[in-house]
Symmetry: C2
Subunit: 494 residues, 2 copies
Amino acid sequence: MTNPAYQAAVAAFTRLYRYQHLAAIAGWDQAAMMPPGGNAARGAAMAELQLLMHGLLTAPALQQALQAAAQESLSDAERASLREMKRVWQSANLLPARLVEAKSLAGSRCEHAWREQRKAGDWQGFLSNFREVVQLAREEAQLLAEASGKSRYDALLDKYEPGMSSTELERIFGDVKGWLPGLIRQVMDKQAGETLVAAQGPFAVAQQRALGVEIMGLLGFDFDAGRLDVSVHPFCGGVAEDVRITTRYRDDDFMQSMMGIVHETGHARYEQRLPRELAHLPVGQARSMGIHESQSLSFEMQLGRSPAFLSLIAPMVKKHLGEQPAFDAANLARMYSRVRPGFIRVDADELTYPAHVILRFEIERALIEGEIEAEDIPALWDEKMQAYLGVDTRGNYRDGCLQDIHWTDGSFGYFPSYTLGAMYAAQYFAAIRRSVPDLDARIAAGDLAPVMDWLDANIWSQASRWETGELVQRATGEALNPAHFRAHLEARYL
Amino acid sequence: MTNPAYQAAVAAFTRLYRYQHLAAIAGWDQAAMMPPGGNAARGAAMAELQLLMHGLLTAPALQQALQAAAQESLSDAERASLREMKRVWQSANLLPARLVEAKSLAGSRCEHAWREQRKAGDWQGFLSNFREVVQLAREEAQLLAEASGKSRYDALLDKYEPGMSSTELERIFGDVKGWLPGLIRQVMDKQAGETLVAAQGPFAVAQQRALGVEIMGLLGFDFDAGRLDVSVHPFCGGVAEDVRITTRYRDDDFMQSMMGIVHETGHARYEQRLPRELAHLPVGQARSMGIHESQSLSFEMQLGRSPAFLSLIAPMVKKHLGEQPAFDAANLARMYSRVRPGFIRVDADELTYPAHVILRFEIERALIEGEIEAEDIPALWDEKMQAYLGVDTRGNYRDGCLQDIHWTDGSFGYFPSYTLGAMYAAQYFAAIRRSVPDLDARIAAGDLAPVMDWLDANIWSQASRWETGELVQRATGEALNPAHFRAHLEARYL
């Protein structure tokens, strides 16, 4: 056999991929199907599977195979594959089992208590668990930093957005902070004079679902290899060969489920179009959280909320939800571009969303680097919400620093992915528009091929062949450039 | 630690139980949820999981633990648990891996081709794959027989109905053959003079489902620990803590889905009421296929098709499916007790069903013992269908010996479980009636406690604490006695 060490690593990762399949389906089931009584047994089964996957990744034979493979005569593609296998291997091997377990326990405890503490706005109660989560995250960051030579926060960031640094984020987000608050004010002034017709509910769930399914079809979702279901928190799960997206319905609001489905369909098409022959290897899997988000936001923000796309689907909205003035294309576009600074990140519009992310990035970076302590968060939160969005959050922990699940289990470094995704998406569409100047007219006419073909060729089919920076450079001809994001926002909102 | 070897075996079986959880949920998903495009990846993941479970059961350490545990000072309950662990261990360890793999491949090939061959009635084509399936099943039977001292067929039977023998089956089925054909004729003569009002469809699927859910609730199904979904072949799957039953709906027929749900709910309640603290060990799991079927048939045949139960649910049928004369209680009872000899086992009524099973038992026993060859099956089939049911199947392979999936993958020894289940159920109800003489009146009045409490105390809570013979003896005061089955049929149909 040529390259026996490389092949041994491939065999181990193939097994890992099959275990991950079971974890993904069981996880989807837990969120979308499982009755509450099944939770304890499911938890035990999932933990056993995690143990199994950890054992596979920490077996000495795999380390030896990965080391020996580096000496074999690999093709460029195989070398990229080896690079990605090593990345996965490192994430499982750099931390001692004791720390992994302590993190998991502290995170579960903090998250579990948070569910009630958030409702009660109980910041002091939260702090009593959260301090340990922060302490363990710092320990993790320290170990990862020592191994990689990165700063502590950057070492965590690398888990979600390999290759990104806080220096780069500070440059990019610093730029955004320079123009975003002013732009928000300008847009709010402009929109104050606009008339917006509100949609009249109720909207039957079956009709909302039928509308969502039709839009998924328009967007190319492959129903032969995926499903649409319901869960409390919408997500895209399952496996590349069988992608499971979810949404949630409210009978007094169709907007959230409709655009939520567009968003998850963006994630789904990325998964469905990853190169199938490499599905079992890290190199054939999605690049990063930021790139994944760039797909959902290409669908939701660049395409979905554009007047062209909304004019294309307005007849579908009317067909499923009934004729009413709110469903005219221009009004739909106004509804989906309404800017209103608010407390809650997940409810934020496209324009104010980055402010929520930048605030969190700045706080979590300082927290992990030891510049602030957990106790300092509320004051910083209030100050930054006032500065970036003009919103007063003092004393409102529930809708302030207690609102997100991410920190409760120690997922520091995740938040930037959201806004990086939005920026990548804007950069992709700038590239598409350069080669297809009449893009909006084609979208409005139902021709989505320029978008889908570009994403397919430049992102989906590339999977993890290139590191993120190179992927974006190859796709758009330049490194991440937030000017495209700004130009997009100004074009849409001014 | 007291009894360290026993505890080591328990730890291994606890892991097995968690893996089985994943297999059960992934299997349910495959049948009830998965889009077709997910099949190849699912197959690979399930095969990997099977390999893992096989590795767990064939590890030398487990064999040593089971052997050493026999020398430890175990309680009676632990000794029963050890007995059941050994049974599972043996089933995984007696066959060489080569044979397991060859059986799996030949079975898949034969079953896959059968799907088309059955439609085409292509017996010769089927034979070309089936001969190998038979050959491998005989090899398996030979190995199991050598290890157990049983006959070859009995060694296969033991996989599904531990402790049962073909001698016993011949005695029981011989008895049935003595009176069943005459009883069928008598009942058909009687029913020829009855008027039966046919139900007028269509019956909306949503209404059929709502009816099914209400009946499940009446029967005590715990929706907090289970679900009802749809699949091509109805089944009861999932895990004891989260039982997933399925049905299928036809809009021109409500009878099948309604009684199918009653049947699967019987399986489900057995699972849901198994002793939760032993769920992770074989001793806490269902006793056998025949005992499982005795639960579904207690629900479907003893309870579900009784005039008392049908009078109880007639108002629910009318509520969900609309008022019509066919839904009067007495007419429902006539509909659900209509006897018509036919070609197809799964469509057979309660009275003719045993004839289908006895025929298959006789043929498969002779086949495994080498008294006949696969080529001899059609002639035997025709002869026995004529003798037992007065039905002419000559030349009709599709609705004759090609109709079942069981033989295609080598599941010889399974068929008797169906009729054993029917007989056990009749024997349980005879016992219940002895202590509750007004059982029918109580059922008609909506009081199902006498049935549920008896099954709970005597079967569900006992799991695999006793071997089947002792379980039945303890529950009913006697060994399996087909006289109860005959008395039940005569009481209901004459």
